[in-house]
Symmetry: C2
Subunit: 239 residues, 2 copies
DNA sequence: TTTGCTACTGACCAATCGGTCAGTAATGTA
DNA sequence: TACATTACTGACCGATTGGTCAGTAGCAAA
């Protein structure tokens, strides 16, 4: 007894008023129905793209699936044809938006010939160009914000994104240590310390002081790289 | 027509069923009412303490005021006697829990005699002991998570906490530069780079990899201080 | 044109939660 | 004991939203 036509024909009980109110509009509006097309192939990535935009802007919990669907030009029902739940939608977002960037970074790193310091610096700015300066920048903040209440998402992100990023940095550091360019430091801790300010740059731009103080990303990342390289350099090495 | 007794006497309309269902329990339960005391003075800080715990654990939006009230041993109605809104409660939490720690840090810093490097290192570990290792540690993550959807809170936290913390660090750096111990670097950027890993340490422990990988805070902060001091040291100065 | 398949719709449901307020009871006062 | 004050309660309201599903309509084969 769900469809509006039926309810309108036989209004009954408490919801009669509400049902009437909304469907009168429909009727007055006449047959002005939105043209609807059937494009099974394109829907999932369109929905994922819309979801990325809204998740980043409002957070996972605060994003309404109605809005995601509308933003992708379909109804919420359609969204549920392609994703079984809100969490499934999130995983698709990570898969479609972030993993390709990670692969690009891995290739960039594999092909780069130069000192570890150079690679480190260029990798940082590569990261910035491909992630920090794009709409992907909001994802780290998104993860930090929501991971507590959605441990499933957190684990997914950790396994599919964080670990790969850390491995990348670890390789650069190991290369530098092996060549005698860097001091022998604890790899895991060093990775943490390199990543932290980069993550924080993203986070800050999307929260706390978002509108209070602009951070000069260029200057910030430059100084960060200087500090890291200088801090890890072996004694004899010119920082 | 709100009180249950009245509604029960004259059940009518759509909510009769629901009203009955819930108040039958009350009656069957008999007069087993919780002893209630009147302690106007103690309530606000008890509520704020309960709120801190829950905000940090679940986030601002996800924390129910019913739970905060219950956790403080009162009803939600009582909570609203002392705080006009959820946001007002948050401000009280910051005021009661964080500002005292900031004052302690300011005093610690003012009384400390030593090189800028020493002060920086000790201030970092002071911070860790007083905030990072306590339940306050969750607050930075809380702010990052919620600031997007609650700009009012973000501004409050920024003005009352961030700015004071930054001023503190700025003073240490300025002292170091003046004495020739540190290089002449851009203060704002340097502050950002010192704070970022400390914030990130808190954040990490409360999210993303919270249960995936333990971070050795001691080692992490030690290396961080080493890097900062080494990175800012003037040429002639022994790092 | 008819029929069958299925992509798509949107009203609805059930549960959640910030906030309200009429009523209750603990405490002080006479 | 009678009365006044007020801290406290908890059922209720209204708005919100993830998820459902009976029904609609685009499309192609017969």
């Amino acid at each position: 007894m769900n469809p509006s036509s039926f309810v309108n024909s036989f209004p009954s009980g408490a919801n009669a008023a509400a049902a009437d109110a909304s469907s009168v509009n429909l009727r007055v509006g006449g047959d002005r129905r939105k043209q609807r097309s059937r494009r099974k192939e394109a829907r999932p990535s369109e929905l994922a793209a819309a979801a990325l935009e809204l998740f980043v802007e409002r957070g996972f919990a605060a994003t309404r699936l109605d809005d995601v669907a509308a933003s992708a030009g379909v109804s919420k029902g359609t969204l549920y044809l392609y994703f079984n739940s809100k969490e499934a939608l999130f995983k698709a977002v990570v898969q479609e938006a972030i993993v390709p960037e990670l692969i690009a970074a891995e290739q960039f790193m594999a092909n780069h010939r130069g000192s570890a310091a150079e690679v480190l610096r260029e990798l940082t700015f590569f990261w910035w160009r491909h992630s920090g300066a794009t709409r992907l920048a909001g994802v780290p903040k998104l993860m930090i914000a929501e991971s507590g209440n959605f441990p499933e998402l957190a684990k997914y992100y950790h396994d599919h994104v964080m670990m790969r990023g850390r491995a990348l940095l670890g390789a650069v550091l190991a290369r530098g240590i092996e060549s005698g360019e860097f001091r022998r430091v604890d790899l895991e801790t060093a990775i943490d310390l390199i990543i932290a300010p980069v993550m924080m740059l993203h986070v800050w731009r999307y929260s706390v002081c978002a509108h209070e103080r602009e951070i000069d990303a260029e200057a910030y990342l430059t100084m960060h790289c200087d500090m890291i390289i200088r801090g890890f350099a072996t004694e004899g090495n010119p920082a």
